[in-house]
Symmetry: C2
Subunit: 337 residues, 2 copies
Amino acid sequence: MNTLELQAPYLIFLGDAEDLLMAKVAKGIAHWRPEKCVAQLRLKEAKADLGLPEMSIAAAAEAGAKTFVLGLAPIGGNLPKEWISILIEAMEAGLDIASGLHMKLADIPELVDTALRTGQTLFDVRVPKGEMVCGTGLPRSGKRLLSVGTDCCVGKMFTTLAIHKEMEKRGINATFRATGQTGILIEGNGVPIDAVVSDFIAGMVETLSPDNVENHWDIIEGQGSLFHPAYAGVSLGLLHGAQADVLIICHEAGRIQMDSMEGYVVPDINKVIEVNLAMGAVTNPNIRLGGISLNTVNLSHEEALREIAHLEEKFGVPVVDPVRTGVASIVDQLENL
Amino acid sequence: MNTLELQAPYLIFLGDAEDLLMAKVAKGIAHWRPEKCVAQLRLKEAKADLGLPEMSIAAAAEAGAKTFVLGLAPIGGNLPKEWISILIEAMEAGLDIASGLHMKLADIPELVDTALRTGQTLFDVRVPKGEMVCGTGLPRSGKRLLSVGTDCCVGKMFTTLAIHKEMEKRGINATFRATGQTGILIEGNGVPIDAVVSDFIAGMVETLSPDNVENHWDIIEGQGSLFHPAYAGVSLGLLHGAQADVLIICHEAGRIQMDSMEGYVVPDINKVIEVNLAMGAVTNPNIRLGGISLNTVNLSHEEALREIAHLEEKFGVPVVDPVRTGVASIVDQLENL
């Protein structure tokens, strides 16, 4: 594929993380792709624990690890000196390095030198790889589902990973298509779409989700929101490039203000559905709403179930909270159509 | 400004262009900014003529030229060897070099060496300059007009340049804000928005069009179309970042198929107005339609006037063809409101 591609299995590095909030990427990989995680490596100060076997670099290499994954962001954003020597040791033991940090591995001369010397690869998953292409808008075979949001950080990645997992469990032919750095580290490949030059947004999503057999589903991770004052361009390019057959609307129950956007209120679900379907129809006239994924983390269990029932009644589609209810009802309906 | 900034006046290079179609950028600069053009330089094979004084590099430098502008694209896209020595001569004479070519000046070692040696600057206007920032969506002072299209290549740049010129003629405080390479070469600064990383589209348009005095107009060049399967992301980021008070819809009369997009028809003007106003309202709830700019190049004069009258009747706003009728009626209405 014309994208990044990490080699599994992984040795997950937790650094000195005090808890799994500080190591969200590591937690995501261990949760969604446990079969790709051979071990964890922690500094002695670390309290975060993925429950994976504890291994040194040498032991992990011996056990077959192919990629050393930086599963957390260091405080301050810069790689501590002692981490750099750990990364060098990992490459010397035959592992590639993957990172979702803002700071690029490729900008650290010692790492570049070691990569050249050892023949290992540095994967900065925030840096798009391969030839950049413009969209064609030409129809593609196979089926596509895209998560779209009322805002950023409402659960679009989680929703698509959950739907993909449910499909795999049922033996449905499906692929998760990652568009953000955490999704890419979880899946092992993808396109960091917000880092692509804007001319190529739709084209790179077309590349990410190519022609496929008729019964295959691409489950595409959404980004941002058409109503987000900073990132809507990314969301619209993604919507057009995906040519989605099915949209899943993601929303956080009770959120009033948009994430980090002073003065911006979260738009009505109704309006978000309507505009996404209208704009998505530009490249796929058969686009339809496949369900609503409601993040109910701030509601009691009773409130959550009541709100889910209310939205099901109102919109006539399956409504789920992937954490609380699972996504089976959405996949049921995709199977029945 | 946190953008490109060329020094005027210019020596316009026409190479071996047979006609002004091959030198569209040169023609645009000479048409819209004649006061910035001190002279033209042509190879002996050239037939294209801007009607500017003919000068050697030395004579142009003597006459005050500050920037040598590559006003055409060489056939095949590569810079001919003999042009490179001309560019070197220009830098040695104290001129900067500006180019809108796909091929970057900064990728040609002889030019980079000469720039270092002479202290002159190479401006690749397709390469964004300055710090990239995300959008904030915060309201800005001053007034903003943006051209949006039913498709690519319908006259968005021409329309905004014409409105800006009409405003200047009337003594209205206004600035043209360029977002594409030709516009940037004409104005001397701007942001090549389709070359910006997608996370920063809206933010860089905010930077391009900062707070201003209350009676000042930024006349912002639009790009693409919200209905374009490849470039809509750019258009939406631009719409949100511009926080436009006034939209001018640009359309080519009689165009049925979208430019270079197999299977895509040009959307109804009606729908384009409706969706642009709805999406623009996300960052500026007071957005309104200020007029329609109709490219009637393919109609007879009678047909054109009939179509313009028909659209004025239908939409209740001034409708112009900037070439055929001028844009006075649009500016009249902006002055009256």
